[in-house]
Amino acid sequence: MSVLLTGVELLHANGHRALSNLELNIAKGERVALIGSSGAGKTSLLRLLATSHKPTAGQLTVLQTNPWSPGMSRLKALRTRIGLIHQAPPLPARQRVITAVLAGRLGQWSLWKSLISLAYPLDRQGAMQALAKLDLAEKLYQRCNQLSGGQLQRVGIARVLYQAPELILADEPVSAMDPVLASHTLNILARDAESRNATLIASLHSIDLALKHFPRVIGLRQGIVAFDKATPDITPEDLEALYVNEQLALDESPKTAFIPATSRC
C-alpha cells in the first residue's frame, strides 16, 4: 500500500477547511489523476501526502510509514522517498539547471558531497540523463532565470526523475506547456513511474490529459471525494457534477497557465 488515508481532515491556519473526512487507498505502482475545480483541495491533498501539511484529524500512512509519529530522522528518511513536482518550481533564479536537478538527491547525499557538488557538480552524468529524457540536455549549464515557464516545469520534473522516489506527487506539472508538449511530458512521467514500479499521483486541470494518461481518476469537490473510479467507468455525468456551478473545463486551454515571477525563477 502506497498511500492510505482514513478520516483525514485538514484545517488551514486561517480556519479554512481544505479537506474533510477523506478516505483514500492507493496501491504501489498505481497512476492516479486528481481533478476538480480550483479550490477543491487538490494542492492541499498533494501537500498533505508530501508531508508538508500535518492532518488535523484522521490517520495518514505514506509508504507504510506514519510521517507524524515522533522522530525527525524517520520523517527525513521518508521524505527522500517522496518526490513533489510543483506547479511553479521553486528554483532559485540564479541557480544553474544542473545544480537545480542535482538538488533532488540531497536527501540521499552526505553533507560533504552536497557542499562539494555546489561548487563543482559531481553527478553530471545523472543530471544529464534526467534532463535528456525531457529534451532539455542542452540547458544543462544555463541559469534558471534564462528558461521559460514551460522549460522550468520540465526542469522541476527532471529533478524528481533524478531523485527517483517511490512516490511521485505532481501538482499541475504541465500547466505552462502547450497541449502537445504537455501530453508528451505526462507520457514520460508515466513511463518513468511504470518502469520503476513507482506510484504517481498528479493533479491536472485538463480532464482530457487525465483521462488519456491515467488508469484511475479521483474527482475532488470542496474538500471531499466526489468520485474515485477507473478511467473507463467515468461518465459525463460524473464530470458535470464535479464542475457544476463552475466553468466546465473539458477543453480548457492551457493559456491560463501561470507566469512565473522572475525573481523567484
Binding site: A119, Y120, R124, M128, Q129, Y141
Partner: protein
C-alpha cells in the same frame, strides 16, 4: 538513454581561478594584518580582558563622575554645533563659487561657461575634495598639535571636513534645482547674489536644511570619537577611563554615548520630517 556527449562544465575553470586568486590574496592579507583570533582567548590576554570586562558591572555612577560625564556631554554637543556653524561658513560661499547654476557667462554660450569661470570652479571643487577626503580625525590630530589639546581642535576639524562635504552637496543641490527662474533673473539683469536669493535659495532651502541636520547628527558621532586624539568631549573621557582600566566608567560612558546617539537620531528625524 544517453543521447548527447557530456559537455564539460564551463564554470569549472573560472571558479577554480577565482578560488586560487582568493587564496593568493588571502595569504599575504593574513600575514600583513597579523590576524590572531585565538590569541584573544589564551594566556595573559584572556586574563587581563576578563578582569577588565568583569569591572564593567556595576556601572560607575558616583556624583563626581556623573558631573564629569555631564560636562563631557555638553562639550560634545557644543563641539558638534560650533563645528557645524563654522563648516556652514566655509561651505556656503564655496558652494556659490563651485556651482554652475549661477554662471552668467553660460547664459549666452549654450550653457557652457567661459574658461576663467571654469578654472575658479574647478579649483574650489578640488579644495573641497581635499577638505572632505582627509578623515576628520586626521584633521583633529593635526589641530591638536597646532592649537593644543581640547575642544577647539575638534571644532576646527569638524569645520573643515564637514565644510568640504556640505560645500559639495550644496553645489549639487543648486544644480539639481530647476534653473528657469534663476536664469530668468540673471537675464533680466539682476546680480548673481540677487538671482541666488530670489531664484535658487527658495527652491533649494528645504533640501539644504534637511541635509545639514543630517550632517549635524553625524558631527555628534564624530565629536565623540575625536576625543581619542585629545580633541575634547566624551571620547577623551572614554580614553582616560580605558587607560585607567576603570571598567565601570567605560561601561557608563558607552551607555551615555548610545543614549546620546539615539537622541540625536531622534531629534534629527523629527526635525527633518516636516521638511518633506
Amino acid at each position: 538513454m544517453l543521447t548527447t556527449a557530456l559537455p564539460r562544465d564551463p564554470a569549472a575553470l573560472p571558479r577554480l581561478g577565482i578560488s586560487l586568486l582568493a587564496l593568493l590574496l588571502l595569504w599575504p592579507g593574513f600575514h600583513l594584518s597579523e590576524l590572531d583570533i585565538p590569541g584573544l582567548f589564551t594566556g595573559e590576554n584572556a586574563r587581563i580582558m576578563g578582569s577588565f570586562l568583569a569591572g564593567f558591572w556595576p556601572l560607575a555612577y558616583d556624583s563626581e563622575f556623573l558631573s564629569i560625564v555631564g560636562k563631557a556631554i555638553l562639550e560634545t554637543l557644543a563641539i558638534a554645533t560650533a563645528g557645524m556653524t563654522l563648516a556652514w561658513l566655509v561651505a556656503f560661499p564655496a558652494a556659490l563659487l563651485a556651482t554652475r547654476a549661477l554662471s552668467v557667462s553660460a547664459l549666452h554660450r549654450q550653457g557652457r561657461p567661459s574658461w576663467p569661470g571654469q578654472v575658479i570652479r574647478t579649483v574650489v571643487r578640488i579644495i573641497l575634495v581635499v577638505l572632505r577626503s582627509i578623515p576628520e580625525i586626521v584633521w583633529a590630530l593635526l589641530f591638536v598639535r597646532a592649537v593644543g589639546l581640547g575642544p577647539t581642535a575638534g571644532v576646527l576639524a569638524i569645520a573643515i571636513t564637514y565644510g568640504g562635504m556640505l560645500g559639495k552637496v550644496y553645489a549639487e543641490i543648486f544644480e539639481s534645482v530647476p534653473a528657469d527662474s534663476t536664469r530668468a533673473l540673471l537675464l533680466g539683469g539682476s546680480s548673481r547674489l540677487q538671482a541666488f536669493m530670489y531664484g535658487l535659495l527658495p527652491a533649494a532651502s528645504g533640501e539644504m536644511i534637511s541635509y545639514t541636520i543630517y550632517r549635524w547628527e553625524c558631527a555628534i558621532r564624530a565629536s565623540v570619537v575625536m576625543g581619542f586624539v585629545g580633541a575634547g568631549g566624551l571620547g577623551q573621557q572614554v580614553d582616560l577611563s580605558l587607560r585607567m582600566f576603570a571598567g565601570g566608567e567605560v561601561a557608563s560612558l558607552m551607555l551615555t554615548f548610545l543614549i546620546l546617539v539615539m537622541l540625536a537620531d531622534l531629534i534629527s528625524r523629527l526635525l527633518r520630517e516636516p521638511q518633506r
